[in-house]
């Protein structure tokens, strides 16, 4: 076996997926390899499908092609530096990851974050949800062949990325939330930008729905597809919209509110059909709810500081640094060696667009985390792949996989 041929040894995976295996009814089956270089496995997921005609008898997902060792990397970065790593995990929802990392560290530190920063966090986290759902809808639609929806969604996503850029200077790898607050104060004119977006977005969602929701082909492709029982989902560790599309109202924003989500008025939508179509409708509804939250955040944004009043942890003001010796020392210490975090371990979970993203952080009292474990929602959701697609048609794989909305960076880390 040559070196470039992939990380996992195919012969090994074939161990229980023998080619020309005979199944019960005497048909000969065929093994089809889907991915890692495949247009609709959304990254580098590899699926080994055992087919009987066009029906899938067995499916074995194979991951790890995007493993970057981020968890190891955390251990040699200071806490504040770690924020930039979180962007790279789930590259479609960077701010959710920033948020959970900061919340975990702040829990260890016992920091109180000013309202202003919290509301901003909520607003931008919801923007992230929109961003992620838009990309999901776009790619899901183009997988099923609706190419115009793809571009319509990217038009709005572009606007969101511009807003991100306005706040943080970065379009995708924002790293805008920092331990102790926000990286920068709000940019000038942000209200107008956000308001412009909020004003048009509701009608844009209607536009997507117009193209898809009642389209016979779309419903034919998505209704009744990708069913997996709620028991299986819970047992396999599925979280997020998939669970809600099965009727289980579970959402960390409501159950264990963080970052002042409890002050916002929004619904957690649920569906009961538990198929691809339900997940589509659910995510569209979530987009509307996020829109509602953003609107509230925009209108009721409290004033105040963008950072906590914690001199040893957040970087001091540039002005103060130039006039006060104490600030200069803090600045030097924070930049050169970081800050110490008390010993302990926490697990912080929030609701990312894909489900529960959890950060398990162990501190040994030094400036660097002793261990950070990232519980990505995609990893858990992807475990259900076999259950989801076995017994369906090969063409349903696309729809079913798409409805899971996984990001391989999140899975493989």
């Amino acid at each position: 076996m040559s070196n470039y041929s992939g990380i996992s040894n195919p012969t090994d995976v074939h161990r229980d997926h023998q080619v020309h295996e005979t199944n019960g009814s005497g048909h000969r089956t065929m093994v089809l390899n889907m991915g890692p270089q495949h247009p609709s496995t959304h990254g580098v997921l590899r699926l080994l499908l055992e087919l009987d005609g066009e029906t899938i008898v067995k499916a074995a997902p194979d991951i790890g092609y995007l493993h970057t060792g981020i968890e190891k990397e955390f251990e040699v970065k200071t806490y504040q530096q770690g924020v930039t790593l979180t962007d790279r995990i789930d590259y479609l929802a960077p701010l959710s990851n920033n948020l959970v990392y900061c919340l975990a560290a702040e829990k260890l530190l016992g920091l109180e974050i000013p309202e202003h920063a919290q509301w901003t966090r909520v607003m931008l986290a919801e923007f992230t949800r929109l961003n992620s759902h838009l990309v999901w809808l776009a790619t899901h639609a183009i997988d099923i062949g609706a190419m115009s929806v793809f571009l319509y969604c990217f038009r709005e996503r572009e606007e969101i990325l511009r807003i991100f850029e306005m706040f943080s200077g970065q379009r995708m790898m924002t790293s805008y939330f920092r331990i102790g607050g926000l990286a920068l104060p709000h940019p000038r004119g942000w209200q107008k930008r956000v308001k412009d977006f909020v004003d048009i977005f509701a009608s844009r969602v209607d536009q997507y729905e117009e193209l898809l929701t009642n389209n016979r082909i779309w419903t034919g492709r998505t209704k009744g597809i990708g069913y997996i029982s709620l028991e299986d989902m819970l047992d396999l560790g599925v979280t997020g919209p998939m669970l809600r599309a099965a009727g289980l109202k579970v959402d960390a924003r409501k159950d264990t509110p963080y970052s002042s989500y409890e002050k916002f008025d929004f619904e957690v939508p649920t569906r009961t059909e538990n198929d691809v179509y339900a997940r589509y409708l659910l995510r569209v509804e979530e987009m509307r709810q996020s829109h509602k939250i953003i609107k509230q955040a925009l209108e009721g944004m409290p004033s105040g500081s963008h950072q906590a009043d914690a001199p040893g942890i957040v970087l001091p003001d540039r002005e103060k640094m130039k006039t006060q010796m104490e600030s200069l020392i803090y600045h030097f210490k924070i930049v050169s060696e970081g800050f110490r975090v008390p010993e302990g371990e926490v697990y912080q979970a929030i609701e990312s667009p894909r489900g529960e993203v959890g950060c398990y952080m162990v501190s040994d009292g030094t400036q660097k985390p002793y261990r950070v474990h990232w519980r990505g929602p995609s990893f858990g959701n992807l475990q259900s792949t076999s259950k989801l697609i076995e017994g369906t048609l090969i063409a349903d794989v696309i729809a079913a996989l798409g409805s899971m909305d996984f990001v391989l960076g999140d899975t493989d880390r």
Binding site: I7, S8, N9, D12, I63, G64, H67, G69, E71, K72, E73, E75, V76, K107, L108, L234, D235, L236, G237, T239, L248, V250, D255, T256, G344, E345, V346, Y347, A349, E356, G358, Y360, V362, Y370, R371, H373, R375, F379, G380, L382, Q383, D412, R413
Partner: protein, 153 residues
Amino acid sequence: MIPESLQGNPMVAALADLATFAKFEFNELTIETAPENIVEALRRVKQDLKFERLTSVTGVDRLPVEPRYEVVYHLQSVAGNSRLRLKTRASGTNPKVPTATLVYRSAEWYERETFDLFGINFTGHPDMRRIMMPDGWEGHPLRKDYPITGARY
């Protein structure tokens, strides 16, 4: 070694005969058991305490300490809206923990990942292979004695 303050806690009470240690910090409950009791503990947690979901399984390498590895299980109860952390320890020479896949199927990949990155063997696991690293990879990257740079590719 269960602190007084936790004696009345129903979760601790349910695992009282198995728990070797418990703590309540940062509003999070941690219960530790011996490796041979962990599956039984998980069973009770699932059946009696209604924690439907195992959110993650991972390891922590406390290098100079022996037993060296902590295996950490995070559990969530959707119905009860609560979370719980179970913990067990594995020795550095031959790290072995019984698998949780008998109780929670979601443990399958998490245990593979922990095996891959820490080298902790989950006995009874149906498919104990590497999941993240290439199959022929030497070493387990998240161990503290594994170098951060200089690994061959």
